[in-house]
Symmetry: C2
Subunit: 646 residues, 2 copies
């Protein structure tokens, strides 16, 4: 069985340098003449010189009357000068030419009409309120330098000085070839079966290319067949594209043909970069064009585009890559990192008070949702073994900075009603974004303590007092004054396959042979609840097969059951219902939001409480099933327990 061997992974900078040393950009990317009116976003290939001055004539800079300055020199308060129409003055509007007999303008506010005559009580200097020829732009002047990215403002300047046509670099044209036997063409709107995936990377790359000012043509997917791949690449090389991208097949597996395909036509310069995700990226040159082998995992593909392809496209157009705004943000959780690799870590970022808190998101290269959830990305340098919680990192913003101030950071337990809350907050004007990180109820309380969250979702049950949350607040957040608001009452139960094939009716059944359980992570309220019920049943954890297998959300637990990876897991009814699973009720519990008192008057917090207390929210929550909303939006106090059990 033939396997490719990786070239040594090299730093990104070195990968870029190798291409720049080999590719002849002058031969590859041409210069074209285009109309200045549609030049915004393009890069000038040479300095642009003004053909006309702007303005081309002396003009009034104010509404008023045109006068001869010399006629006004004697004007004083109480001793006005009187000017006759036509000979002594004419009315002028802003922007209109100054009649040749006159050399100054008096603002209309300073003119008193006396019949047909105008009287003024103050002198004006020659050329007062006059825009002179060339005041803005002088003919022969350089209006724009070479290698300038043309702004909308520049369009105005170019047209007004007669530079109607200018020389710019061609837009970089990119051709994207998705590959793989398993991929389905999205244009057919397919339903993927086992082993199949909807091909999405090509349009992800096309959308990125569009955002960064390139043209992109995407062709239909090509199967993992060396001849078909070679044909597709050759078509790309014969087309007008400057860059040909082959998506997937860039790694070193037995069906990874991208490298050998490139080698048929030219030279592979880079195979493997020291980046995670993005490691199996390929760069090559053939027939004077750049060929990129983009990895098949979506986040790897993004890294390949943003850190390799885009900088090279900018180099082709002699422009500097655009940078993202960077802010300093405090990591709310420790993250490990591999030495020798630049790690691109996606972050959820929110503003808490005057500083920013960053919650690391899923690290997987296959997790495109980590990109859609991220507000920022940070680079862990190759020399870092990992970063401790509390470290301040440079976070490159993926969203508008203004959005962070409209972002609520919620850390703690996962609940499906948070999606409803998020949607309703988004619908307000101004809209608010709820970012939730699912680290369990205990994790949420710790985040509040560290100041890395504005609110925490918690449903911690204390068997001794039969109360929720307050006993834990007293223990873990002593001295922190908090407001506790109920989100909903919810039903927890055992999630099982449809028809309950293993006949599970209670916790005791989980100790039976052949019953595989899927657990929640340590610190999750649901795990604490499970442990409580195990204890009630007199069972030790080691009696439960799968006790050590952990998931972080109710939905993930349900997916394990749905796919047969487990027979049972503890979770909310809504998760079972969403995936068509069966549900054995176990307990009702109170899910509360814990909010520092100091933030009570923050308009975002006020918005949250007002949404939760509203009928629209409660209706939607009840529609999920398994939820009660009797107390939603009410402030909780110690000892309240559950509604109906007070």
């Amino acid at each position: 069985m033939k396997r490719n061997i990786y070239l040594r992974t090299i730093p990104i900078e070195e990968a870029l340098a190798r291409v720049k040393a080999v590719l002849d950009r002058k031969a590859l990317l041409g210069v074209e003449r285009i109309g200045a009116d549609r030049a915004a976003g393009r890069i000038t290939a040479e300095p642009v010189i003004a053909r006309y001055s702007s303005p081309t004539f002396h003009s009034a800079a104010m509404d008023g009357i045109a006068v001869r300055a010399a006629d006004t020199f004697m004007a004083r308060e109480g001793s006005p000068v009187r000017l006759t129409p036509e000979k002594g003055f004419v009315f002028v509007n802003t922007g209109h030419p100054l009649p040749s007999a006159f050399d100054a303008v008096v603002m209309i506010e300073n003119v008193v009409m006396d019949g047909e005559a105008a009287t003024i009580e103050a002198p004006v200097a020659p050329f007062a309120h006059v825009r002179r020829i060339g005041e803005d732009i002088v003919a022969t002047e350089m209006v724009l330098p070479r290698h300038r990215r043309i702004s909308p403002y520049d369009v105005g300047a170019l047209l007004s000085c007669g530079a109607f046509e200018i020389s710019v670099y061609e837009r970089v044209r990119m051709r994207v070839i998705p590959t793989g036997d398993e991929v389905m063409d999205f244009t057919a709107r397919p339903t993927p079966g086992p082993g199949q995936v909807v091909e999405s990377n090509s349009m992800l790359l096309a959308a990125l290319a569009d955002e960064w000012g390139m043209n992109c043509l995407r062709v239909p997917p090509v199967p993992d067949d060396p001849e078909a791949l070679a044909r597709a690449l050759e078509e790309g090389l014969d087309s007008d594209a400057h860059i040909v991208v082959m998506v997937a097949g860039s790694s070193a597996g037995s069906k990874d043909f991208t490298k050998s395909t490139i080698a048929k036509f030219g030279e592979v310069l880079v195979h493997g970069v020291a980046a995670m995700p993005g490691k199996p990226s390929l760069l090559g040159v053939a027939r004077g064009k750049l060929i990129v082998g983009a990895p098949g995992y979506p986040v790897s593909s993004v890294v390949c585009f943003e850190r390799l392809l885009y900088p090279l496209a900018c180099w082709l157009t002699r422009s500097e890559p655009r940078t993202r705004q960077t802010i300093a943000a405090t990591l709310a959780r420790s993250v490990p990192s591999r030495i020798g690799m630049t790690d691109f870590l996606r972050l959820s970022v929110g503003q808490v008070g005057s500083s920013y808190v960053a919650l690391p998101l899923s690290r997987g290269a296959g997790s495109i949702s980590s990109m859609t959830k991220a507000q920022a990305v940070t680079q862990l340098p190759p020399e870092a073994e990992g970063l401790e919680s509390g470290t301040v990192v440079a976070a490159e913003l993926l969203v508008d900075a203004g959005e962070l101030a409209r972002t609520l950071v919620c850390v703690g337990s996962h609940d499906n009603t948070l999606d409803i809350l998020a949607d309703m907050l988004m619908r307000r004007d101004p809209s608010m974004r709820l970012v939730s990180s699912h680290v369990g109820s205990m994790g949420g309380l710790i985040a509040l303590k560290n100041g890395s969250a504005m609110l925490a979702g918690s449903h911690l049950f204390d068997p001794d007092t039969r109360d929720f949350n307050f006993p834990f607040l007293a223990k873990y957040l002593p001295g922190l004054d908090v407001l506790v608001v109920n989100l909903a009452i919810r039903e927890q139960g055992l999630i099982v396959a449809p028809g309950n094939p293993k006949g599970i009716v209670g916790v005791a059944d989980l100790a039976r042979d052949g019953v595989r359980y899927i657990n929640r992570q340590r610190g999750a309220g649901t795990r604490i609840l499970f442990d409580h019920h195990l204890a009630l049943a007199g069972l030790a954890p080691d009696r439960i097969l799968g006790y050590e297998r952990e998931e972080h959300t109710h939905m993930a637990v349900a997916v394990n059951v749905k796919t047969g990876a487990a027979d049972c897991g503890l979770g909310v009814y809504a998760a079972a219902k969403a995936l068509g699973l069966d549900f054995v009720p176990l307990a009702r519990e109170r899910y509360d939001l814990v909010i520092p008192e100091a933030l009570r008057d923050d308009p975002k917090i006020e918005a949250v409480i007002s949404v939760i207390a509203g009928e629209a929210f409660k209706e939607q929550v009840r529609a999920l099933g398994g939820y009660g909303t009797d107390w939603s939006g009410r402030v909780m106090h110690p000892g309240m327990g559950l509604p109906g059990e007070e």
Copy 2:
């Protein structure tokens, strides 16, 4: 003569609120279903739900072999487990389905082949290196919230979970109608005569609309004729546009018909906002559409678009206006401001050391070049009477933040060769931007002293020592260690109309009756040179008609002569030549760059010195005429004077 009377100018926020109170956005802007593949940049009209999980099957997360975890539990270093092909393992590549008999993957690096069999020396856990169904996205999950601006990443997520078609708000369609008797349609590539201007605002607005995600249709200019204007507006109201913009005619002059035209069809809500530029902006509503009267001056038009039209367009699509990155920058010069008005001040910004310095640019609403030269804009609040030099302002960046670090701030005397230097710096890789502010030689030295410039252009002549710059450095910059590098030797002379109609051959001729002089500003080396020559000729300044009229650059002086606003001015030969004027040589002088020693090793400064010393620069400078380059790039020392006069 009929004149409109301004409505009271109102704050921008109030203007926006008036429109929001009247306009029915739900009726105006529809929702459409579009393919997710081309949805980047659009705004979701409802939450998007995942149709499929991603992935839809268990798959290998690594290249390696698929195994049963239970088979590996006994594997230890030195005591390997041996697996037979097909029954015990199969090879798998990243992303490929996990065969149903297996539940874990061993990375290829940890497999040793022994003939056909695979041996491993460590156990793996169930589902190790397996991407489980729904690991990224779970079917039924909300993938994107409502009112979300769709990113390229979102496109990938939407396609991969089967959300092929989604509901988004329509793109806002804007129709722009340029107006005015004096404007010429740029599409004809006209040559403007006296009283004419090339109409550019419509395309400036169209380019801004495009940048901010709107569609824009521009129609040909309409003359200042009430009936033609009404017809054009009615066509706009009948079209599919959501917003109709009439450019110019929004003020209160006798030919400003925009207000009355809007009133024919609907209601004028706002006439005049408390903003400079931008004051004569109009907002109205007719037939359920928004009508904007944009001022005719280009910078006013920009303010009207960015602060009124764009926020309203965002409100239509339920999105938040995008904000620009804001940095703290120190004003290098005091600026006055009008109480009661928000003043949008354009700034040239550069990084000096670790902080930013902002140089205020031309304030004129007609100066589109102030926008092309600006790296930032700052708002002076209505309550400010002005800001002192040294004040730290919040500067909204118009350029990429990365560009500021590549920007060299040069403050001081103006010289045409600085354009050549700027062009050559822009051509380097990485490119560098030279921002020069023309405040005269003395102003440059003061900027160095205040740390608000990286280099200063200076050509100060000291008659006592017959040396340049050093006597002034000793006096004004004591204790600051500087490097002085010659840029060029240049010829200064009297710039006169072609054919020298007034027969000016020397400074003495300027005292003659009817000779109008145009002077340079106080602190300019050229003014000091002029004063020196006046003294040599035994003339007092009050003998010179126009001595008090000041311009800030050689080109502006030449324009005054060119247009007949003055008969003579002192300046460099290149300025006279550029405008086809005659030149009476007066003196040679040394134009040097003064650079703090502390910055000597800055790569940008090194680049400047290397460019100036290069033959390519010198050739271009000599081609301007009136320049010598014998000493260009050489380090100057006290007492050197001029080449050939040592």
